[in-house]
Symmetry: C2
Subunit: 434 residues, 2 copies
Amino acid sequence: MNDIFTARGSMLIAGVTVNGSTVDIAIDEEGMIAGIGKDARKTIDADIIIDGSDRVAIPGLVNTHTHAAMTLLRGYADDMPLAEWLSEKIWPLEAHLSGDDVYWGTKLACLEMIKSGTVAFNDMYFFMERAADAVDEMGLRATLAYGFIDLGMEEKRAAEIKATEALVAHVKARKNPRIQAAVGPHSVYTVSPEGLSWCAEFAEEQGIAVHVHLSETEKEVTDCVAEFGKRPAVHLDECGCLTPRTVAAHCCWLDEAECRLLGERGVSASHNPASNMKLAVNRAMPYHWLKASGANVCLGTDGCASNNSLDLLEEMKFAALLQKFAWNSQTLLPAGEAVAMATSAGARALGTGPGTLTAGAPADIVLLDARAACNIPLHNTDSNTVYACNGGAVMTVLCQGRVLMHERTVPGEEEIVREAAAAAQALVGRAREA
Amino acid sequence: MNDIFTARGSMLIAGVTVNGSTVDIAIDEEGMIAGIGKDARKTIDADIIIDGSDRVAIPGLVNTHTHAAMTLLRGYADDMPLAEWLSEKIWPLEAHLSGDDVYWGTKLACLEMIKSGTVAFNDMYFFMERAADAVDEMGLRATLAYGFIDLGMEEKRAAEIKATEALVAHVKARKNPRIQAAVGPHSVYTVSPEGLSWCAEFAEEQGIAVHVHLSETEKEVTDCVAEFGKRPAVHLDECGCLTPRTVAAHCCWLDEAECRLLGERGVSASHNPASNMKLAVNRAMPYHWLKASGANVCLGTDGCASNNSLDLLEEMKFAALLQKFAWNSQTLLPAGEAVAMATSAGARALGTGPGTLTAGAPADIVLLDARAACNIPLHNTDSNTVYACNGGAVMTVLCQGRVLMHERTVPGEEEIVREAAAAAQALVGRAREA
């Protein structure tokens, strides 16, 4: 079975269920879907054949907001008031993070994401060169941003500019088509207008994305209005940060006019329902306004300290259920739209293709177990995918035609688990000693 | 490995992690925990040894509100207005349900519950004699109630009384200590005061539980006040239906006085967060009031049409997150309390023991994969169990010392999946022809 992880060539997924029909999926040597349908096997001379019977194929999932290495903080502290949780638990531990920690934490995150069907993620954190090493080795796609925080201080801003420029140069020099750099202004409350404007201009100049937190809490909105006389989305827009290359995470407290603004600018809005619920932000993203505005609404898990998992199959259920509950509508965000958020909308946000199972798209494909209880009966694939299945039903994952997991085996899993666990333990030890 | 499913005798789970410590769990020939700790292996001469290394042990989970056979309707219809969903989709399909359907639907539900760590459930549906057959064969515990609905009609009431009496007699005659009967008055809006009073008296006479829906929607409250001049919990109480043997499901719209009443009566209140979110009931159970009142707050998934899974590990996360979000508190329902809801509180509700890993308790034990990403790092078992893991991390399940699943294998799984899928397809076919 190990052969399948190293083999290169054309591939056929034979007799797999897609939207209730049994089809073949043909993948060419460049990892693109050459054909899909009953006759797709004729389009290639397959070097590798994967048996698709007892499997349901869906597009690879895209996680549009993560702080991947925070896997090391999973379960370190929960159920506390936000300010206390950050100042007494999360920040003191993060102060002791090393580049090696970020490497192993990101490896663990990649492992967890692959195990639950994610093929691409949008990350913001520190020591991102080491995150790039992890992504490179694990074989999925990522857009990596250094978290730019100047707190209004000119000296700090100069250092953040340097760190951002260094990461972008590093990622470009790697020339790995799966890894992109982005600019990561943290938020309107941690970055000055000068910092935000620099980020916008640098992203434009480099032709890369902007990854920013937006309107996560009510306090962010009231503070922004008090300091700048305008709401956060308007403030970001005036600094040039809202473009079709922008991914804005959370978007809980946007008002209707801000939603229209995001739609007009073609922004991608990343919904993070589990994190928003756990941190009790007290308002769910206004999906109905964003959808009406034409904004690209996608899905993210946020970091592992505020979720505490990276399972997008689970996150789709949280999204579809939270929208219904919070906005009091039994019909809001139906299953098919939740799947689109986690696939085609995510792929559009990160520029990784159409995010669909169609000829000409990259072969980013997830095979779910059709014999798992969550897929019995199979009245409706979208419904089972969103409401019944979780990451445990994912059997095989392909990214650009390369097999990252097969029959739930990911190469190197034991070492990642061992080293990440050790890194987390050592990190807590260092923080205690300090 | 098949031996482990049929072997009888004393058992040792050797070197397993419980709350961060490595211990042994000794189980005697009657399936009770004989000892737990570093020296527990001395208490028995084990016939069977299960390797507990790389495993985290937690108490078996208890699902206190299900309609198990509705697994056959999983994904049949979703994302519709409630009245239309029920009248156009769910009820027409249910009208064609046979006893065989309930048997295979319940077998599928038992399989799904075992796979996700559930050892006992509280069920209300039709053809419950066939549900009892399924539970008997699958080896877990269940409390089974016939859903009593008289719609205020005397003739219908007489038929429901007959059906209830027949089920109770049937279950008692089986003499299976894992299976109990309960009386199942559906709700205040489907059962007359006379029907409710009969149910209360019959349950008292038989010494069995009452399983009822309570305050799921605002409409239920306003209709009850309009018809009877009192809120649903008060109405149920005046009919004698609130006792320490009562499990009341949902409890979303209880006011503070009703919560105090449930506490005074010693009622078990079953929280069903995923169902409540999916059906947009617009208010979360007031957990803080119920907790303060001393009511026994436990956890349930509801039926598969309104969830659509039976995974209590996932449901714990929904509960802990929904309470925080809906009641705007970052500290409400912390992980440890969520675990207690799904274990000790559930066991108390169904009378299946303490629901803890302690000497003298029934050996209802779940072994989670300690090497799964969701358990790395293991800073805190409760946190990982609630916030990070789902049913996919469950490796081994014991009920009264009997192994129901080992290394994710459940005996007979293939037949259940095949027959339940066929039953669901045939059911839809019959409904279409009609």
